[in-house]
Symmetry: C2
Subunit: 245 residues, 2 copies
Amino acid sequence: VLPRFFVPQAETTGSVVALPDDEAAHLIHVLRLKPGDAVRVFDGRGREWSARVGEIGKAHARVQLDASLTPIAEPQVVVTLAVAVLKGDKMDDVVRDAVMLGVRRVVTLLSERTEIAPRLIQRGQRVERWRRIAVASAKQCGRSVIPGVDAPISVQEALAESSAAPRIMLVEPGANEVASRRLRDLPRSQEAVLFIGPEGGWSSREVELAGAAGVHFATLGLLTLRADAAPLVAVTALRTTWDDL
Amino acid sequence: VLPRFFVPQAETTGSVVALPDDEAAHLIHVLRLKPGDAVRVFDGRGREWSARVGEIGKAHARVQLDASLTPIAEPQVVVTLAVAVLKGDKMDDVVRDAVMLGVRRVVTLLSERTEIAPRLIQRGQRVERWRRIAVASAKQCGRSVIPGVDAPISVQEALAESSAAPRIMLVEPGANEVASRRLRDLPRSQEAVLFIGPEGGWSSREVELAGAAGVHFATLGLLTLRADAAPLVAVTALRTTWDDL
């Protein structure tokens, strides 16, 4: 398997492009590639090339884009994951897994029961970290599209965004006083926004707001899922239900 | 929500039973319950009771089983997860998630590409640890059945066990030279054994053995899944495909 590099500037087959600093460092110091070595390059927007290493410096490297490759097809069901920020570094795995499961965009939410302070998210440069993880995960799983990761917004703000796609809020069995259905009983679509709550679940106010905004409520089985496993389970179940896995 | 205790000795409604040591310690020192407090008790085999705390000592506690409760129903699809042991403590999450997703039994495998030495598993008392995690996960997710976790065996030994249920081996897209199908194209069943490989995937010999043993091969999407996320994704996809989620 050829090493893959993420080069957002890649555009024209035949051209020579410089690698971003961190990708160059990886090529030079970790993989220790030499001019002429065969690699792959993708632009993060769905294009991929077979390429060759060109000029290498101490901290920079160039590659020549030899030929366009057919990238791994994106899922047919376009999922936006609107997920409440979890404690500690649990979001790292959520983002990594979301990319691996073909999620198109990750919207991070500060819900009422989110247990991490917005200032910690900012100070810890978490959003930048999640974006780096999205890149790493795309490289690892073979995907040529890197999903965007949005900086945290409130549930109210997220619900205020207009959406042509059906929106589905995952609720725990019996936890919120709301009529929920199984995924297979929801209207089928090629696109969806999946709302997934934090460790403590949604507040009644958030559930009310969602209901008023026309969001569908869904449960997954009878057992209580761990908050950090719920996104993976929900995306898998949705794609499977809609024949995409 | 009432605290739940795992009491394998529980059997007769109306009787008084002693809690296992670790459950007693949890009741006394962590939750600081008092005689008369209401709790729930389950036996790990599918029965559950409303109960009351009885006599408490320094290191022991008794509960009175007041009335039988209807436990959360087990999944309709009975899944045995036959999973290759992963590196580090990744199996902890695999076991935790398997219980939460209703897996009936976990068989751990030493595959050819398993990167952890059998002696480390033994010295580290890993199997005992995984069994404790299975108990903790069942308590947390509300399940009243605690799945067994088998000590590691080879893939060959696992394949030699007779199975009335269809056996499905998850293979990476394009990784093994084998005809694989999507889960929805496999014969539908109420029971299955799911084989999931280690970080490096299955060896060609293992795939050959499985093929000769009549195992079905399946892929999940086109992207490469992380080894520690694959069990969760596969069990979810299988239960969804067979209308159980």
